[in-house]
């Protein structure tokens, strides 16, 4: 049983880490585009902003369980199977990337407009403003956002247990729900609780440590 739970833990960590990584790879640029193309942004593009915003809202409004089933054909196409921890990554990324885009958007919007204006007055290009002002200045806030996003992804990955996704979620469902072995369910839940605490703590601490505004 211990080895089963260890495998589950490993699979959960793998799913969470890989999905978070790919979601951020997609989510950060989307968040940046949302901020930059805003009417008050550094390069207003109302049409792009409107379309992107609607698509993000559309995906975010589909419940994750339904999304998980809806994207099975795509998952098969991408990873060759629809079960196991790797097969959970595509639906997780599809669900989490728009969420992360919104988190990134709200972090970047916290950057003081005056600082952006100062950069402009020095002749900075839009790319320089994005990479040298917007992203570095919002780093503490982005890390707080990551604490929320990654723990949410961890929660979603457990849900994938219903479609045979693997990880601690599958163990909790198979043993706790289908076989009434509540002890195993409690153990997996306890591990998940501890995981969330650890992830939350890591990101909050690094956010605090890198923030130069309070010292």
């Amino acid at each position: 049983m211990v080895s089963m739970i260890l495998t589950g833990l490993y699979e959960t960590l793998l799913m969470t880490a890989a999905s978070s990584f790919f979601s951020y790879v997609i989510g950060i640029p989307l968040g940046v585009i949302l901020v930059v193309s805003d009417t008050n942004g550094i390069k207003p593009m109302p049409v792009l902003n409107g379309v992107l915003g609607s698509v993000i809202n559309l995906i975010r409004s589909v419940p994750f369980m339904i999304l998980l089933i809806m994207v099975i054909p795509l998952t098969r196409l991408m990873v060759g199977t629809s079960i196991g921890p790797v097969a959970v990554i595509p639906p997780l990324v599809i669900a989490a990337a728009p969420y992360i885009a919104r988190m990134v958007e709200s972090s970047l919007k916290e950057v003081d407009a005056g600082v952006i204006e100062a950069a402009k007055s020095m002749g900075a290009s839009n790319m320089q403003i994005i990479f040298k002002v917007l992203l570095p200045e919002s780093r503490p806030s982005l890390l707080v956002g990551a604490a929320i996003s990654v723990t949410t992804i961890l929660g979603y990955s457990a849900m994938a247990g219903f479609t045979g996704g693997g990880g601690l979620g599958t163990i909790a469902i198979n043993y706790g729900y289908y076989r009434y072995q509540t002890d195993i369910m409690f153990i997996t839940v306890a591990i998940l609780v501890i995981l969330v605490q650890i992830i939350q703590e890591i990101f909050m601490r690094s956010s605090k440590r890198c923030d130069k505004r309070v010292k």
């Binding site: 204006e117 020095m122 130069k212």
Partner: protein, 348 residues
């Protein structure tokens, strides 16, 4: 005059949900190279928009800005960014990068203009010592006082050796003492490095203490432009009078007798004009209003005195003629002969 910045019939209209708002209307200004040029107005007059039009952070909707003879309207975005490197800017809220230490803040404009890291650091260190902060290189903006932050902002603004420094209410968030120090620093930079400075402010004392020329702006228009000493000695526009003379123009309830308005137009502040007049003419003099200012050792301003009796007044006038002080008799409507009370005089 070698003109560095020229605004030609410049206007700016903002399109808002509640209709168009005219922020600037037919602005014509020439700023000479090496000058410290002040632009003063009450809040909402349009002065912040005006300064942002100069470096095209706001694009004028009418007329244009000429920098060293070149029209900004004809430039591409890339050219505008290049021109901006010739114009440093400092702000009321300093606008430093909060996640960079102050050395890296000063390096920032050099980085974005493609200067190598080593050279940028070298230059930033020189600039920090110029503004008197070389011992705080590793500090972050949050650890500095307002005055120190503005010093960093000034170092950052002049890092790329600009020809022009734009100051947008740069001292409005600082206490009077720090304001004085920052103004001194700006004046110093203007003198030593020959950088032209445009100062936007709502405070008369900023104009008095560092500016060569001043433009008074009201309701999106320029009300008056000229040398600071001329405008101070003899403001023409209503807003100019209000800013310089204070509320005396509204006060009419003044006593009988002869009233003289004496002008101080730049003679030494150390000369006791009034005492000398009293001693040599042997007449009692009542000061009804006085507003004089010391600008670089010269006295500017005016004073309204009251002398009872025609004969005494004649003596005083002869004395003033003799020492060539400008004055003129003022004739307030002497409605009810009301005496100025002590309380009222204290107000002045």
């Amino acid at each position: 005059m070698d003109v560095i910045v020229s605004l030609k019939s410049m206007g700016k209209v903002f399109h808002t949900k509640n209709g168009d708002v005219k922020a600037l209307d037919n602005i014509n200004l020439d700023v000479g190279r090496g000058e410290i040029f002040g632009i003063i107005g009450l809040s909402g007059a349009g002065k912040s928009t005006l300064v942002r039009c100069i470096n095209y952070l706001e694009i004028p909707t009418e007329g244009d800005v000429f920098f060293e003879g070149k029209a900004l309207k004809s430039m591409s975005e890339l050219q505008i960014r290049r021109v901006r490197r010739d114009m440093g800017m400092i702000f009321q809220q300093f606008n430093l990068l909060s996640q960079r230490n102050i050395l890296d803040n000063v390096c920032f404009p050099l980085e974005i203009s493609g200067v190598s890291k080593a050279k940028a650091r070298q230059r930033a260190k020189e600039l920090l010592s110029l503004v008197g902060l070389s011992n705080r290189e590793k500090a972050y903006p949050a650890q500095l006082s307002g005055g120190q932050k503005q010093r960093v902002a000034i170092a950052r603004a002049i890092a790329t050796n600009p020809k022009l420094l734009l100051c947008d209410e740069a001292t409005s968030a600082l206490d009077p003492n720090t304001t004085g120090q920052i103004l001194e620093l700006i004046k110093d930079i203007n003198k030593k490095m020959g950088i032209t400075v445009i100062v936007i402010t709502h405070e008369m004392k900023v104009i008095e203490s560092i500016c060569d020329k001043v433009a008074i702006i009201e309701n999106s228009k320029i009300a008056e432009v000229g040398k600071v000493e001329d405008i101070f000695a003899n403001p023409q526009s209503d807003i100019g009078k209000k800013l310089i003379l204070g509320d005396v123009i509204e006060r009419r309830e003044i006593v009988s007798g002869v009233k003289l308005r004496i002008e101080f137009d730049g003679r030494s502040s150390f000369e006791p004009v009034l005492s000398n007049m009293i001693l040599s003419c042997g007449i009692p003099v009542n000061i009804l209003y006085a507003q004089t200012k010391d600008i670089g050792g010269s006295a500017y301003g005016h004073m309204i005195i009251q002398i009872s009796g025609e004969e005494e007044a004649q003596r005083a006038k002869r004395y003033l003629d003799g020492i060539k002080i400008k004055y003129h008799e003022i004739d307030f409507p002497d409605k009810d002969n009301e005496k100025i009370s002590l309380e009222k005089r204290k107000e002045y």
